[in-house]
């Protein structure tokens, strides 16, 4: 493929930022159109790469490498302590890129509900997209970290300026939790860089996995780094007890931002654990497998129990996210092919489902100014189509066969039952609870006595159809034809399995 393909893909939203600079800030519809159009190049390019890969072309030709920073004397140190600008993808990160591009475009559509300062909003939104795309395309840890931090600042502003009542508190709690997470991650990255002289993921994986005599680093040191890394990504995922910021953000930020937040940003945590935790420290990861599975079950049950008692639908969804991220951990803890595949499936599937549900929250919040379940009762009478999509989304989320949620939950549990049947049995309770809390919430909203007048309230219309249809479409597609994901993942999974000796 052509020159700088990935760079163009990652940085294409910047074009939109530049274009927006020249649009007067009062022209609402122009700004929204430009913001939406700016997400399209990345979408087209990532889909093209995806289909080319599916038709058999190699991903290596997408790799890019340019010299970037050199510390110390290049004549003396050579390649050591140089940081290169390296982009590249494997099957896993390509899927994440496609997911990011799709959700960004849909979230840009959902941004039509933004009420003020559209220009600033879309500039930050597009910058966030650059960060997210970059995270999945980065081939070295320092570059990864830079993109990771680039997502932090726009998100802080997007939450703090365009959110609901307690938005600033939510923004600060987001900033501090994630700031601490990044800080821990930065320590890990710098220790690896200082000790090995490289930050290239492939090189690091090779150096550390072939270092059986612990010449580069002691076993304890590696374990320490892995635990630090789990904490760093655990904040992002989030793993109980590091989750309180995430509930706040889900409730306070505007739905279009939460679509990206729940859909992609949380997934960076899972991506990091799989790619770096498992990839670079496979031995130590195996030692921690039980702990990770236990944390997964705790997440699953804790989230589910709390989701059960919420009256605000956004809170239900927030705790449901925590619960569903538990399934990712369960899959990873199983440490076999089914488990890991289930975890990756869950990452993608939950990204789509969460985005769909939060989009629908945006739809009825816009019309009814509430997301309180009792106040919404009888929605099916006033907005039958929205209520229908809501029910479908909930079904996908609770893992109804034929939808993506089922595939991922099934595989994750299949993996865990093989390794730790007792734990898996306890975890399976969570699945039942999921069905209970989701049905309770959705039925409470859709049916029941109408608590309000629905006169003058319109149902889904115009552009609102697009995100709903697209998301449901992909969810069902993965559900009935999982090969869309399994095939591209094959080689990436093999590499991971080779690392953990499976």
């Amino acid at each position: 493929m052509n020159f700088a393909y990935l760079s163009i893909l990652v940085f294409s939203p910047l074009l939109g930022i530049i274009a927006l600079l020249f649009v007067p800030k009062a022209k609402e519809s122009v700004i929204k159109t430009v913001g939406f159009l700016a997400t399209l190049p990345a979408l087209v390019l990532s889909l093209m790469a995806f289909f080319q890969y599916r038709s058999g072309s190699s991903l290596d030709q997408l790799d890019e490498m340019v010299n970037w920073i050199q510390f110390g004397d290049p004549n003396r140190l050579g390649e050591l302590f140089s940081i290169k600008y390296e982009l590249g993808v494997d099957g896993f990160s390509l899927i994440m890129l496609v997911l990011t591009a799709i959700l960004s475009t849909l979230a840009a559509i959902a941004s039509m509900y933004i009420k003020k300062e559209w220009k600033g909003y879309f500039m930050l939104f597009l910058l966030l997209e650059v960060g997210m795309l970059g995270v999945f395309a980065a081939e070295n840890l320092i570059l990864f970290f830079i993109f990771f931090e680039i997502t932090l600042i726009p998100t802080f502003f997007l939450i703090g300026k365009w959110g609901y009542f307690e938005k600033e508190k939510a923004a600060f709690s987001f900033l501090i939790y994630n700031g601490l997470g990044s800080a821990v991650l930065l320590i890990v990255i710098m220790v690896l860089f200082a000790r090995t002289g490289t930050s290239n993921i492939e090189a690091l994986t090779y150096i550390l996995t072939s270092d059986t005599d612990h010449l580069v680093m002691s076993a304890g040191g590696k374990m320490g780094l892995l635990i630090a890394m789990l904490i760093a990504f655990g904040v992002k995922l989030p793993i109980f007890p590091l989750h309180s910021w995430m509930v706040r953000v889900h409730v306070q930020a505007s739905p279009s931002v939460v679509m990206l937040h729940a859909g992609i940003l949380l997934k960076i945590g899972a991506y990091g654990i799989i790619r770096f935790g498992m990839g670079i420290f496979p031995e130590q990861f195996q030692e921690l497998a039980v702990l990770i599975a236990v944390l997964g079950v705790v997440n699953l049950l804790y989230g589910a129990f709390l989701a059960l008692v919420q009256t605000d639908f956004k809170m239900v969804l927030a705790y449901s996210s925590i619960s569903h991220m538990g399934i990712v951990l369960i899959g990873l803890g199983a440490l076999n092919e089914a488990g890991i595949q289930g975890a990756i499936f869950q990452v993608v599937s939950h990204g789509l489902i969460a985005a769909l549900l939060f989009f629908l929250v945006g739809v009825f919040y816009e019309r009814l100014q509430t997301s309180n379940i009792p106040n919404l009762g009888g929605l099916a009478k006033g907005m039958p189509i929205t209520a229908g999509f809501l029910l479908a989304g909930a079904m996908a989320s609770l893992g109804m066969p034929g939808m993506s949620g089922f595939v991922s939950e099934f595989m994750a549990f299949l993996g865990l039952f093989k390794e730790m049947p007792v734990l898996a049995a306890v975890g399976a309770l969570g699945i039942i609870l999921t069905a209970v809390y989701l049905l309770r919430a959705v039925l409470g909203i859709t049916y029941g006595k109408a608590h309000r007048e629905f006169a003058g309230i319109t149902d889904l219309r115009g552009a609102e159809w697009v995100p709903a249809i697209v998301l449901i479409g992909i969810i069902v597609l993965i559900g009935v034809y999982p090969n869309v994901l399994t095939e591209p993942l094959t080689s990436a999974l093999e590499t991971i399995m080779l690392g953990i000796g499976g």
């Binding site: 510390f71 600042i153 703090g160 600033e168 501090i176």
Partner: protein, 505 residues
Amino acid sequence: MDLETLLSFKWSIMTPEFIILGVITLLSLLDLFMAKSVNRKLLGWLGLAGILGALVALLTLMGNSPEAILYDTFRLDSFAIAFKLLLLIGSALVFLIAISYEPKEGLTEYRGEFYYLFLAALLGAMMMSSSGDLITLFIGLELLSISSYILAGIRKKHSGSNESAMKYVVNGGISTSITIFGMSYVYGLTGTTNLLDMARHVITLADSQHIYLLGLAFFMIFVGLSFKVATAPFHMWAPDVYQGAPTPVTAFLSVVSKTAGFILIVRILMVIFYNIPTEGPGSMPLLIKVQDYIAFLAAATMIIGNVVALRQKNIKRLFAYSSIAQAGYLLVVVASMSAFLFDTLWFYLGAYLFMNLGAFAIIQLITQKTGSEDIAEFAGLYRKAPILAIAMAVFILSLAGIPGTAGFIGKLNIFMGALVVEPAHYVLVSIMIATTVVSYFYYFGVMVQMFFRPAANDEVKFKLPAGLGVVIGVCVFATILFGVAPNVALDFLQGNFNQFSDFFQ
């Protein structure tokens, strides 16, 4: 000394200093003879031209082998050139800020002095970075300090300015005397004031009593010098002085004066104390033995600076604590003593120069416009002057060490230096990163004011003076350039200064 010896010196290596000295003389004479009615800002532009001239002269001296004149008291090695570059660029930017400085009660009477005192302070700092002898080192330090004392108090009718100058003199006097007391020990034990001679002498020391005395001398010198860079235990002056002093002076103290302090610390520490063996010739140097002590002070400085900054409501006081914290980060470089020490120190000081001076330019503009130094005055800046708000955001993000800015690359350098040595400074790095996260609170507090809060009154229109506009433009450009393409600076450093290998020659 007869005329022949005088002429035999290669005076050309002092060209930058001579230019500054000449401009000082010229400005003071002009100030004396010019009619009262003539606007003294003219002198400011002349001074700026002088600094730029010195900068050009310094660039032409680059790449030569190290030379020393005046019996080795003045030396021009790569270290001196590299850091003088920072001093001159910093001073040029400070000058631009100073030219646009318009305090409420006016500065007409002293405006001339205001400019040439800056130059005198700069001359002191430049002498320090080039000195190969304790005497010239100390004279440079005093020239810098005394000029700064007067500058801090130049608003004679402003009580805050007076308080600031008073506190600065008293604290400065104490710390200077501690430093010189420590220096006297070293002189007493070696019998010379020349730094390289001292190094040659101490390297053979074997008497443990002498080593003990030198250890004592180290502590005194280091503690005394911590005043100049505003680190613990001598940081207490900074908030009061920064708050009371005129904003350009605050900017000068926080950037140029701090850079000079680090130059001094590195000169003395690395030349003398790095060569003192602790247990007979060839054993571990004293400096490595006391590394933990420096690390402790660095940690204390970072914690104090960042934590106390959380409670500040006055923007200049906030930046005083912020600059204490930044000095703590720089001390981490000194404490880790890696092979990258000079590179890292230079890069971070350079990055700090741009981000901090840019921020001070905006602070001066806002405080002057509103007449108050409360952080709340930044409210709604994004609405009133979006470009200004975004520029300030760039500086703040850089100070907080967010990727994409020079500050991040600087911090990356520091972490690497601290972790690459054996044993690695894990604790120190962790403290540095943790306190950086703490700093997000107050840095983003300013951001919240600028972007989230509505303005108290909308009618205030900003007229950006040309000088400040240039400073802000240059600083934004440099902060982003060194963040996105740091190799521009790192390659320059690698290509022109021979890895600072001539430092000990």
